[in-house]
C-alpha cells in the first residue's frame, strides 16, 4: 500500500465539501476540483465552476476554506475559480454519477449530433426512451425529462 501523503489528506477534506443542493455529492465527485497545492501551510485550491453564474459558488468556496482551516498546520487558504480547463459534465466521477441517480437526478450523457438528443436513462426504471420535457429545470445545470416507460417526469444534468 502506498503511504498516504499530505495531498491525500487535503483531498479527503474536500471530499467533505458537498454540493449545497445535493448533500450526498462532494465537489470532488462533481469534478469541480482542478488542483490543490500546499506550501508551508498555505493551501491553494483551484475550483472549476459548473456554471459561470452558479449561485452556490460562494457557499462552496466558504465551505472549502472552513474545512481546510480545521486541518492542523493550515495557515492560509486561497480558493480560486478557474475557467481553464472548463468544467464539463463528463468530469463527474462514476461515484458521483451513482449518487446523482440515488438522488433522483439522471447523470448527464454525451451530447449527440442532434442538439436535442440529450435524454439520459431514467434514474428510476433505467429505461432509455424518454423525451425532453423542458431544457431548463430547477437549476441552470439541470433539465426536465419525461420517462415514457414509468410515465413520470425526472430531472437530469445537462450535458455541457
Amino acid at each position: 500500500m502506498r503511504k498516504a501523503t499530505r495531498g491525500d489528506a487535503l483531498m479527503e477534506v474536500l471530499q467533505a465539501v458537498k454540493d449545497p443542493e445535493i448533500p450526498d455529492l462532494s465537489i470532488l465527485e462533481l469534478g469541480m476540483v482542478n488542483r490543490v497545492t500546499e506550501d508551508g501551510g498555505e493551501v491553494k485550491v483551484e475550483l472549476m465552476p459548473t456554471f459561470v453564474g452558479c449561485p452556490a459558488l460562494d457557499l462552496i468556496s466558504r465551505d472549502v476554506r472552513e474545512n481546510l482551516f480545521r486541518q492542523e498546520g493550515v495557515k492560509e487558504v486561497e480558493v480560486k475559480f478557474v475557467m481553464d480547463p472548463p468544467w464539463t459534465s463528463d468530469r463527474i466521477t462514476p461515484e458521483g454519477r451513482e449518487k446523482l441517480k440515488g438522488f433522483g437526478i439522471a447523470p448527464p450523457r454525451d451530447r449527440g449530433a442532434d442538439p436535442m438528443d440529450i435524454v439520459p436513462e431514467c434514474p428510476y426504471c433505467g429505461a432509455g426512451e424518454g423525451e425532453v420535457h423542458n431544457l431548463f429545470g430547477p437549476t441552470a445545470c439541470r433539465s426536465i425529462f419525461y420517462c415514457k416507460n414509468c410515465r413520470q417526469p425526472f430531472e437530469g444534468m445537462k450535458p455541457v
Binding site: 456554471f51 459561470v52 481553464d84 472548463p86 468544467w87
Partner: protein, 264 residues
C-alpha cells in the same frame, strides 16, 4: 501579443483602454438582458417558459459578473459597485437591451436576435489575445448554447402559428429592427481592439456573420428578411441611452440604495 494577466494588459495603456471598453460592452449587454429576463418570472405564458427564464436570467447575470470581475482585476471598482452605481451615460450596452420586454413575441424576437449576435461575438473572442477573456468565453458559450436551443423554436412556432401570434412577431420585428444595429457597434476603441487582437473582427464583419445566422431562422419562420438593420439613432457603446436604462438601473439597485449594508 498574448496577455495572460491583468498586469500584462495594463502595460500598454491603449490596449488596456480597449480591453476595458470591450468588457463593459459585454457585461452591460448581459446585465441588462438578464435583468429584463428576470422580469418574466411568474408571468411567462407557461410554467416551462417560466422555469427556463429563471435559469437564463441567472446565466446572463452570472456572465455579467464574470466580465465585471475581469474589469475589477484591471483595477476598476468591484462588480457590485459597477453593476449598481454606474450612471446610465457610463454604461455601454446596446440600447435595444435596455428597453422593456413588451409582450412575449417581442421578448422572443429580441432575445433570439441578441443570442445570435452574442454567439457571433463570443466566437470572435475565443482566440482573444487576453487569455482570461478567451477562457471565460469558451465556458460561457457552452451555456449560451441552451438559450438559443430554448428560444429559437419559440420564435419559429409563434411566427408560423399565424393569426395573432404571427401579427405580434411581425410587429416586434418592425419595432426592434431600428435599434438592432446597435449590437454591432464596438464603440470608439474598435480599431485598437482589433490591432491588439482582443477580438478577431470588427463591427461590419460581426453584422455579416450575424446575418448568416439569423436569416435562415427568418426563412424557417416564414418571415421576410428585412435586410441588415441600419445604424441606430443612439449608440449605447458610446454611452448614449434612453430613460429606459435610468429606470432599469433604479429598479435593479433599489435594495442596495435603500440599505447599503443589505446582504443577499
Amino acid at each position: 501579443m498574448i496577455m495572460e494577466t491583468a498586469d500584462q494588459a495594463a502595460q500598454n495603456p491603449g490596449c488596456r483602454r480597449a480591453l476595458a471598453e470591450l468588457l463593459y460592452q459585454l457585461a452591460d449587454d448581459e446585465l441588462c438582458l438578464g435583468h429584463r429576463d428576470s422580469e418574466w418570472l411568474g408571468l411567462a405564458p407557461d410554467i416551462e417558459g417560466d422555469v427556463a427564464f429563471s435559469s437564463i436570467a441567472q446565466d446572463e447575470v452570472g456572465h455579467a459578473v464574470f466580465y465585471l470581475g475581469l474589469l475589477h482585476e484591471l483595477g476598476e471598482e468591484s462588480p457590485d459597485r459597477l453593476a449598481f452605481f454606474r450612471k446610465a451615460e457610463e454604461r455601454k450596452n446596446a440600447v435595444l437591451l435596455e428597453q422593456p420586454n413588451g409582450d412575449w413575441a417581442r421578448t422572443m424576437v429580441r432575445h433570439v436576435l441578441y443570442d445570435a449576435f452574442d454567439d457571433v461575438r463570443t466566437e470572435a473572442l475565443v482566440n482573444s489575445s487576453y487569455r482570461p477573456l478567451a477562457r471565460g468565453v469558451a465556458k460561457i458559450r457552452r451555456e449560451e448554447h441552451y438559450h438559443l436551443l430554448q428560444l429559437k423554436p419559440w420564435f419559429i412556432r409563434l411566427a408560423r402559428a399565424g393569426g395573432e401570434a404571427r401579427k405580434r412577431v411581425e410587429r416586434a420585428v418592425g419595432e426592434v429592427w431600428s435599434e438592432a444595429g446597435g449590437f454591432f457597434s464596438l464603440g470608439d476603441e474598435e480599431e485598437e481592439m482589433i490591432r491588439s487582437g482582443l477580438i478577431a473582427c470588427g463591427s461590419e464583419e460581426l453584422a455579416r456573420r450575424w446575418e448568416m445566422r439569423v436569416k435562415p431562422v427568418f426563412d424557417e419562420a416564414g418571415l421576410t428578411w428585412p435586410g441588415l438593420p441600419p445604424a441606430p439613432g443612439k449608440d449605447g457603446r458610446r454611452g448614449e441611452h434612453t430613460e429606459d436604462l435610468t429606470e432599469l438601473i433604479r429598479t435593479m439597485s433599489e435594495v442596495v440604495v435603500t440599505d447599503s449594508a443589505a446582504r443577499w
